[in-house]
Symmetry: none
Subunit: 413 residues, 2 copies
């Protein structure tokens, strides 16, 4: 079934708000084997009329977000009723719920607010527990002979739309799509292999499977591979992907690398400390974004100055003088120092030159060294990512976390 999302809202087109509706709706309907075929954003006001009329024949399901509120440019409800030739009927139950909601917040009731109690004849009301405007569902071809798709009119604020979608829209969608259940989906997150290598490794073999569709999505330091197709073929596809991408696959649940690391360390009953120079706290930040990180994360040392490397980590001053702060020797000493000072089982360190200044011919901007200390022989890696500061931080911490992941893989938990 073809699905179209239409977002109304001038704030989206002015860039004041990032549109999160598309990504939310797409993920919610995916398990129903529904995919958004196209998405459209138009300003508040009459633009919704053309957007709807043009897409009636193109979709079986249309989700409209926004334009259900009380202000004059909120016209989604009225325009939809007009296009479908339906009367608006005053719904006293909605009016009561709005009145009570406003009274409990000591907000004055205006006529405008009560426009939200108007319902196109025959529409199903989707209750709004977090705002006053209810959503509306208009079944396909509600007012023959006008041909229309299934229409869901949803409120603009995400905190109102999201619970309404889950509680009221999804059950209706399940009714609509019943019987379309043979198509499945697998997703693989891959770290340590670039997009074109991934495609080279699995693309040709996968494309020989009948009815299989592939998608690649490259982000900084990781690639998502998606495989969509009939359940029978998916199994074969999975075998190919597993055999060829092996340990490069870090998750099939869309988890990020730091989440995998926190879970793996917890499974190993192991703790971690980090010592960072050029990544400036970003490695610690990523790890501590994971709920439950406190179980495995002990301490981070952001030793930006040489003095801090010496005092906080016990890196010998003459080592820095001899090799420079950005060197294998100092990376090793930082990791070992962090492990000793913190008492953690593992310690990762990063030292490098994020730029834009600070590079030299020998050690250009983008140079970095990683080390991983675990009480055995400390492993050191050289990296080179000549890019902007934030990308450098992202890629370097990604490699650091992946170095640790590699170590955890070979150790039974």
């Amino acid at each position: 079934m073809r699905v179209i999302v239409i977002n109304t809202g001038t704030e989206l087109l002015l860039g004041d708000v990032v549109n999160s509706h598309l990504s939310f709706i797409a993920r919610e309907i995916f398990p129903l084997h529904l995919r958004v075929e196209q998405q459209l954003a138009v300003p508040d006001g009459m633009a919704i009329r053309d957007a709807l009329a043009e897409n009636f024949a193109r979709a079986e399901i249309i989700f409209v977000t926004g334009g259900l509120g009380p202000t004059t440019d909120d016209v989604t409800r009225e325009i939809t009723a007009q296009l479908l030739g339906l009367d608006l009927v005053f719904d006293p139950a909605i009016a009561t719920s709005i009145t009570e909601r406003l009274r409990s917040r000591a907000i004055r009731l205006t006529d405008r607010v009560l426009r939200q109690a108007q319902v196109p004849r025959g529409a199903e009301v989707l209750p709004n527990e977090y705002g006053s405007a209810p959503g509306l569902y208009l079944a396909a071809n509600l007012n023959p002979p006008i041909a229309t798709p299934h229409l869901f009119l949803l409120p603009g604020p995400p905190r109102e739309l999201q619970p309404m979608f889950r509680e009221a829209a999804l059950p209706i969608l399940k009714r609509i799509v019943r019987g379309n259940e043979s198509i499945g989906y697998c997703s693989y997150r891959i770290v340590g292999m670039g997009e074109s290598y991934v495609e080279e490794a699995v693309g040709p073999a996968l494309l020989e499977l009948p009815g299989l569709e592939l998608g690649y999505c490259a982000r900084m330091g990781e690639v998502d591979l998606r495989v969509i197709g009939p359940a029978t073929v998916l199994e074969e596809a999975n075998a190919i992907v597993r055999a060829r991408l092996t340990h490069y696959i870090i998750s099939t649940e869309g988890e990020n690398l730091e989440t995998v690391i926190v879970r793996e360390l917890a499974a190993h009953h192991a703790t971690l400390a980090v010592a960072e120079s050029c990544t400036g706290g970003f490695l610690a930040h990523r790890l501590t974004n994971v709920p439950g990180a406190s179980e495995i994360f002990v301490a981070g040392y952001v030793t930006y100055s040489n003095k801090a490397k010496i005092s906080a980590l016990g890196v010998p001053a003459d080592l820095i003088a001899k090799h420079g702060a950005v060197s294998k020797a100092v990376a090793r000493a930082m990791a070992e120092g962090a492990r000793n000072k913190s008492g953690a089982d593992y310690a990762l360190s990063v030292t490098g030159i994020a730029g834009p200044a600070g590079g030299s011919v020998e050690k250009p901007v983008g140079t970095a060294y990683l080390a991983l200390a675990d009480g055995g022989k400390t492993v050191v890696r050289h990296l080179f990512f000549p890019t902007d500061r934030e990308t450098f931080k992202q890629l370097t911490t990604q490699m650091a976390l992946n170095l640790l992941r590699g170590r955890l893989l070979v150790r039974p938990s």
Copy 2:
């Protein structure tokens, strides 16, 4: 001029990635008095053909994002050339730059990668400093009699698109819209005052000025106020805003708080250390995102465990036992410890409960304490942000940085 944004990318329609391009482009073109009239997202592959063809007559400027990469479903370049009846010409300069880029990263060159060196005849190349696919600009009506708007083909990854947009697309846009220069624009970034307070403080007075248009944009811990209008009136508007929002204005250049802090500390020839618990390195990360941070940032201590607070910062163990790790007393001891250990002039500390677990009736999730030590009396602040983990980190570090900004404001540099 009518502006349309077309985003290609199956990952957008599957919800794997939130579309940030619309909001970025909308903000960037705003000062040129351009606004996006409509935005459209379509999957990778041939869908871009209809999206382009249908919108050629509806817009004077179209921005296309995505589909310039090396994989088989990247077809934006080819489809555009086809629609405009233009040959694709191999550009050896692009090929050289791609080849060098890959070689410096020790990545093997494939034929697919070199597709990115194809340029529709007559198009202007927009260099990509952070990726291999260059952007393309095709002037309006490039191949008469085919009527086309100005077309900008931009790469999908935001870290490639954003610098390219600022450095290569904006100068071309300025050429295109020239003549519309009597209208000016001021922008104020405000920290420490909520959106509705800002509106109350300046809204009524500003709206009395003839021809002035106002825009508010609230983000986490900051509000942008935009004032658009004739140059003569802008001066008056500026006087009103300055008089009423005074030191709440942190920048008129769109700078973020950490950039302001790094510049102010450098002007004071002062250095900073931070000690973090619940923000887990994010405070250090924000500061070290600013180029030149190494001049003022000495060290960060991410003392997640109590043991680390004691060993790295010298927080007395009995202080933690008596007051708890999340307390005024421990925040103060962390800031003073970080200042002593690092030798920095200023030290900021944060300790709190980011959640989702770890809260209690007395200290619920969202509780945090900040402290600022500068050798005089250490200042401590209590905060309460019961929200998700990442928002908590953002708001808490924003308050910490703003506490330091307030201190620097009253000290002459």
